[in-house]
Symmetry: C2
């Protein structure tokens, strides 16, 4: 016999599609919803539907946006473009309140093993932005993994010949880490990229 009644079973099934959510957690979430008021549950369901209805991609940078062009592209100078893999990287950088330029979201990185080539990520529009003029620096902020490095190299080779300054986020020992415990790759990188004081 089925253990859950149908509406609860279905909701548990939906919740377990979320990343990192197993059967037990999905059950807790579903029971939480059962105990919500009707208004709370409706607000929850509406939020899900509204996200699908109202979230578009900015036609300039490719980040999530409510409008054709996102707030950041609308308001900031495009002299510095920070290239990231995903929209959540934009959030991480925006939280710093350090960077005042615009972004370019690739929606992926080149990964031949997964069949993702240069044409499968949002590169062409980056070149179009640069051709349109005004860009002085492109900061490569892809992840420091094989795919991220390869993508950074690929884009660098395309952008540098256009006379644009291309930079890469610094890699090294994270602040607050003892050298003793730093991972070997970061430590080796910190040696290679050491700075003159």
């Amino acid at each position: 016999m089925k253990i859950y009644i149908e509406p609860i079973g279905k909701l548990i099934n939906e919740f377990s599609k979320l990343p990192g959510v197993g059967a037990k957690t999905a059950q807790r979430f579903a029971y939480k919803v059962v105990n919500m008021t009707n208004e709370e549950a409706n607000a929850f369901a509406d939020a899900i539907i509204n996200v699908k209805k109202n979230v578009k991609y900015c036609k300039i940078c490719g980040n999530f946006s409510e409008n054709e062009v996102c707030d950041i592209c609308e308001r900031r100078s495009n002299s510095t473009i920070c290239v990231v893999k995903e929209p959540k990287d934009v959030i991480a950088i925006e939280k710093l309140n350090e960077f005042n330029g615009v972004y370019h979201v690739l929606h992926g990185t080149i990964s031949p093993l997964d069949g993702i080539g240069p044409n499968d990520i949002n590169v062409k529009s980056l070149l179009a932005r640069i051709s349109a003029g005004g860009v002085e620096e492109v900061i490569m902020a892809t992840n420091p993994d094989v795919e991220g490095e390869a993508t950074a190299m690929y884009i660098t080779n395309l952008v540098k010949p256009l006379g644009i300054k291309v930079t890469r986020l610094a890699h090294g020992i994270p602040i607050g880490t003892d050298i003793e415990y730093a991972d070997e790759v970061s430590l080796a990188r910190a040696f290679v990229d050491r700075k003159t004081l």
Copy 2:
């Protein structure tokens, strides 16, 4: 400035109301929804609304049910009633495939510190079920904590005088635990409740 665009911010806010979900996890969930197809997102939203619309409480046992009377009360003999705190305890016991009786869900345990008295939990209907006849045994399966024990005692004192057998789930060392690592309370309880072989 706000970091998230409004629809995403709202959905993150909704997800972070779920138990154990912090800002970072809520963001991951929201991004997952953004990347769902429209059909998937609609199915998710519908599941939430349907749970509120179609989940009632069984008028006999108080468990979640799609109908007036739940499947379990409908189909099984009421000679043995297992009294539990919450609907999720029913699920845990049903998964065993060991118990063939019916349940009674208290929706709470007596907890004077939280202002929950005997009248705030689903006890009266239990007595009504017993008065209606046919009940031979009541198994107290409330949690082995202070509130659960107090509630079990309270109900026992009401039910036993009616000539009904009242039992309590056994407590002791969990199967698979080394005695060395068993918690002291369970170990002490295992001594008190030791069985003659």
